[in-house]
Structures are given as C-alpha cells and as structure tokens.
C-alpha cells in the first residue's frame, strides 16, 4: 500500500523567491536533519527540509562514514556500553538519555537494514550494524526523505528564523544560492539540525558547518550547554582533508629527526602531538598494522587511503607529515540546550538535533573516536522530528499574521561599511585554531582572546547589512564568531579539567563542578552552572 502523505504547500512569493506553508521545517540535511524530517512526516506533518548544500552529500557524515553506538539490547551489554565511557566523559551523562538513545539507535539502524542499507555480515553470518559508510548512508537517507513526502530545498542556506508575537518560532528564511533568490517557510515548528562548527578548518565535510544554527537559535533566545567541550582536534595528513582518526591507532609518531614523540597517540596522546607540532613537523606511519589489519583497513574505509594513494605514499611503510585540524563542536559535545525528551529548546517551537544540540546527555564532555555522535544524530533527529510534529499539529493555529525576522548580525542596515567576510573568518580562526588557546586553555589566554572576539562582535553588529554574494559568508563568519565567544566564556567558567576541556591552570577534575555550564547571549555573553541530576545530589550531601 502506498501511503499518501500531506506535502508542504508552495505559495507565490511577491519577492520573486519561493514560499511554503508547512507544519515542520528542518534546517540541515545531514543524518540528524533527515531522520528528523522522516520522523515528522511519519507523524503526519507537512515537512520542508532546507540544506545549505545538497542533502545527501553535505555535512560531516556524508564524505566520512561513522562508527555507530549500536548495542545489543541484552541488559549486560547495555550496562557495559553505558558504563564504559562515563569516566572519559567526566560523569556528565544521563542514564535516562543513554538508555533511550541506545533503544532508538538500535531500532532505527534495523530500519536502515530493511530499507536496503548494505550492512556486512560477520564470520558467524550475523549482520554487523555498528558502522555506516557515509556516501552510501546519506544517499539512502535522501531517498527515504523524499519518499516520505518531504519537500527538500537544496543549496538553500537558512539565514534567520521567523518569530511570532508570542516569541514562538514560526519558520525561517534564507537564500537559494543557485537561483540567487530567497526562500521563506512558515512553519508551526522548526528543527535546527545544522551540525556543529569547525571554523572552516578543512576537517572532512565541514566547509558548510559554521555554527549557523547556533546563531539563528540564539537570536530567537535559545541557550547552550557544554560549549566548553568544543576543542576536538583530528589527525590528518598535513596536506589533506581526510580527518579519520581510527587507523592512527596503529601509528607511530615521530619528529623530523625520526625519534619517537613521547606520549603521542591517537587515543589518549593527542595533546602530545599538538605540543610537538608547536615546535616543528610531526610524522606518522601506520607501522603497527599487520598484514591482516592492513587488508581490513583497505577494504573497510577506502576514503582513508585517498590522500596516500593519490600522492604515491604507502602509509604502512613510509612516514608522512600530519597535522591536527580543529573540529570544534563536531566531535566536541556542546550545543543547543535541550529541555525535554522531545529535544525542545528553551524557545517555544524550536527543537534541536544532532551536532547542533548538546551531546553531553549521552557522552558528557568527550566523544573521542565517536559512535556516540552518529547514534545521537539518528536518535535526537527522530525525537526532535516527532516532537516538532506533535507540537505543530497540536498547536496548529492559523499561520501567525505578523511574524518578525529574528536575524541580527550582517542582516541589518547601518551607516558603516559592510564587513569583508573573508577577513572576518580569518580573524575568528586566529582565535579558535591555536592549540595554545583552545587546546591548552588558561584564564589569561582565554580572557585576552575573548577581549578581541567581543570587539570583533561589536564591529560586526555596527557594520552594514551584507549584500549578495557576500551575504552567506558574512552570516557564517558571524556565526563562527558567536560560537567562539560561547565556547571561551564557558571554558573560562569551568575552572577545572573534565572531558576534553583541559585547563592548564586547573589541571584536575573538581568533584564539586560536576555540573553543566549553560551559556547564551549575543551582545552580552553569559554563563551559568546548572546542576547535573546526580551531581546535584552529591553536592547536597556534602
């Protein structure tokens, strides 16, 4: 039986662009966005999904592929999976969330198999569902999103949210960059699934991931959690983009002179690599992989080998220069604060999923080699899609007559000249990239950097609105800037080391700081501690 699903209605737009009326608008078409769109459509909502690039190839997963936190539901295996990363994450996880993410990821991964994802089988003939090849997975997700009746707008970055009189989110608008016109979607609820922010560091698949969703949500009043957990750096060949780190577990890291970098390792020794890189080149060679492992690597992840095969390097027998690229909140864990099981944010009508939302609930302050991120994208996408659909269908009111555009930086006319977006991006990168500031944090350097970032924010708000073709880049630069300010303000507030957040001046974990750091604000950035459910009990008992 073919279900007939309601579709979003296209309206004529007097400005020459396109307009739609929908129940749910999803911003971002990576795994989180596509799961959200499908889940909302399955609830009977009319759904539009707008992606900056092409839904199916854009985002961090599409070119890379991910390990997935897919765990057998047997209680013992469940318990082991939940317990295994608590220490690394700094004890900020929530058992309630870990359990429901494991359930949802298990169920949705099994649906992927029904939909035809070519999962491999183990020697025992049983399927293995804890790894997804990016191109294959996201091609399938696009197909399923379309067949769910979702209207997809490709190459259509969102620029700002629409907000009604009551302050509830009522849609969004953006541009269609291949048509050089605009789009507007009026919707009862919006899901932000725009991914994390990697500051245009060329980490794989991240050129569109500039924190746009954070900025748009903050302009509507949303809050963040865990933005101090935003200093993930990934290993890649110095010249390349393929920041896949799993196989570097088999590497030896050396200085120019061939001697081994003490303490350097992909897992648990990445800071030693960063320290060595401050003084000169560092090389890697995957010499710890035996023949069998080498063959498995080649068959399993062909994209890992592209930089080497195409430059004639044999990574197993020859060493090559490496670098660490900033992944920011992609493999960090901070993001939009979630207030309930439906992934609602603090703003009515606004939901968040995937890297755009905080992942502290399932992995605390650390994700490392991942699999939690992919599981989170699947499950938070599904929760947010259903939540947004239920909210929109319950509160379905006549589309608000008066909606206000919530966008600020780069969108408001002013007497000063508009900013050069390339310069803006570089100025933010100069603050966010350096290992000295972001990886090895201390109060002095964070404070100095925040001074410069705050000044830059004033300049951005005082500058004239950007015009085509600088508009998208200017909003991206403003979003990266705002993101860096939430990151460093939160990093300053956490006067201890926990998860990936490491303070040179507070190198120990402080048991009294087992709490979350909430942050927010645009012109004035603020932070506030928020109790962890169990942490609160500990503090009360002291």
């Amino acid at each position: 039986m073919v279900a007939i699903r309601p579709r979003a209605e296209r309206r004529n737009d007097s400005n020459g662009g396109v307009s739609f009326d929908a129940d749910v608008l999803v911003l971002g078409g990576g795994p989180a966005g596509t799961w959200a769109a499908i889940s909302a459509a399955e609830r009977g909502a009319r759904v539009v999904l707008a992606d900056k690039g092409f839904c199916g190839t854009s985002g961090a997963t599409a070119p890379s592929g991910t390990g997935v936190w897919y765990v057998d539901p047997a209680p013992a295996q469940r318990e082991a999976a939940m317990a295994s990363r608590e220490a690394a994450g700094g004890y900020l996880q929530s058992r309630h969330w870990m359990a429901r993410v494991l359930d949802e990821t298990y169920a949705q991964s099994n649906r992927l198999a029904e939909w035809g994802y070519p999962y491999p089988a183990g020697d025992d003939g049983q399927p293995r569902r804890n790894s997804l090849q990016g191109p294959e997975y996201m091609r399938l997700m696009r197909k399923r999103t379309k067949s769910a009746g979702v209207t997809i707008l490709d190459h259509s970055p969102a620029l700002e949210l629409l907000v009604d009189d009551s302050g509830a989110v009522a849609g969004a608008s953006g541009v269609r960059r291949q048509h050089e016109d605009s789009w507007t979607v009026r919707a009862g609820a919006v899901v932000v699934a725009t991914g994390g922010c990697a500051f245009l560091s060329k980490t794989l698949g991240s050129n569109g991931l500039t924190g746009d969703g954070y900025l748009m949500a903050a302009e509507a009043g949303a809050e963040f959690s865990g933005m101090e957990f935003s200093n993930a750096y990934a290993i890649s060949a110095a010249f390349g983009s393929v920041t896949k780190t799993l196989f570097f577990g088999w590497a030896t890291f050396t200085y120019e002179d061939g001697s081994v970098v003490p303490g350097a390792a992909s897992k648990g020794g990445r800071k030693a690599i960063a320290r060595a890189l401050l003084h000169g080149p560092v090389y890697a060679q995957l010499d710890k992989a035996d023949e069998q492992v080498r063959a498995t690597m080649r068959a399993s992840q062909p994209n890992f080998f592209l930089p080497y095969d195409r430059t004639g390097i044999d990574p197993f027998t020859e060493r090559f220069p490496i670098t660490l690229r900033l992944e920011g909140t992609i493999r960090g864990t901070g993001g939009l604060r979630i207030t309930d099981d439906s992934c609602a944010t603090t703003v009515p009508g606004l939901f968040a999923a995937g890297d755009a939302a905080t992942r502290e609930l399932i992995c605390g302050g650390f994700t490392g080699g991942g699999s939690h991120n992919a599981a989170w994208a699947i499950s938070s996408g599904s929760f947010a899609g259903r939540g947004a659909a239920d909210y929109a269908l319950q509160t379905r009111r006549a589309p608000a007559t008066s909606v206000r555009r919530a966008g600020t930086a780069g969108l408001q006319a002013a007497p000063r000249r508009a900013l050069d977006p390339a310069q803006l991006a570089r100025a933010v990168q100069d603050e966010a990239y350096p290992y000295e500031t972001n990886y090895f944090r201390n109060a002095e350097r964070l404070t100095a950097s925040l001074g410069r970032l705050d000044r830059l924010w004033r300049e951005v708000t005082e500058a004239d609105a950007a015009a085509w073709p600088d508009l998208i880049r200017t909003r991206e630069g403003a979003a990266m800037l705002a993101t860096a300010r939430w990151m460093y303000r939160s990093a300053l507030a956490r006067t201890e080391s926990r998860g990936m957040h490491w303070r040179e001046d507070h190198p120990q974990l402080d048991a009294r700081q087992r709490h979350y750091v909430t942050s927010g604000g645009l012109d004035e950035v603020w932070t506030e501690p928020r109790p962890h459910d169990e942490g609160a009990l500990v503090e009360a008992a002291e």
Binding site: K52, G53, F54, G56, T57, S58, G59, A62, P63, G67, P118, Y119, P120, A121, G122, R128, N130, S131, Q133, P135, E136, D154, H155, R177, Q178, K202, L204, G205, S206, N207, G208, A237, F239, G240, S241, V242, L246, F247, G249, V293, T296, M297, A299, S300, Q301, P302, N303, L306, P307, D309, R310, T311, S371
Partner: protein, 106 residues
Amino acid sequence: MIEIIDPERCTACNICVTACPTNVFDKTEGLPVIARQADCQTCFLCELYCPEDALFVSPFAEQPQGIDVVAARQSGLLGSYRRAVGWTKDSEHLREADRSFRLFGQ
C-alpha cells in the same frame, strides 16, 4: 581540491553541479565549469556522483596543484574511488565490504 573536468568524458549531465555540497561548479551552455575552486572541501563526493568518471579531486586540501587532464587519465585514478566504494556496475559487491567492526576496540 577539485582539479579536472575531463572534456572528453563529460556529457554535461550537470549532476556534479547539483551534488557538490559546496557549490563549486557552475552550469554553462556547454560543459560545467569549476567556478569556485577555493570553496572545494576535498570531500571526493563529486567523483562518486559523476556517472562518466570525468572528475578528478586532488588530495591536497589547501593548494591547487594544476594537474593536467592527460596526466590524470594516464594515472588510472579517474573513477578509482567510485569503484572502491562499489558504486560501479562491476564493483557492486564492494558496497558491503566494510569490516570496520573488526577494527573497533582493538
């Protein structure tokens, strides 16, 4: 970065114009062009989507290399990634070749 559209192989289907996530290509009256090379994120996905194996992405993410078409053709690399992931007719069995599960947790 994207380096090459092979004019002999390209059929101007414009799939790459649509599929490139960072909008690097532009449609023209004839074959598409690499209009914004600096925006390329070196993700190699256009190679997977091009049905004619007409594209070549160099692994150098920061600097264009100025590779020429003839050299790219002779290298045998055109289409090599598409074959490796099983997206060609004769390599379909490779779509389920992922044995990452053997490497996790080692």
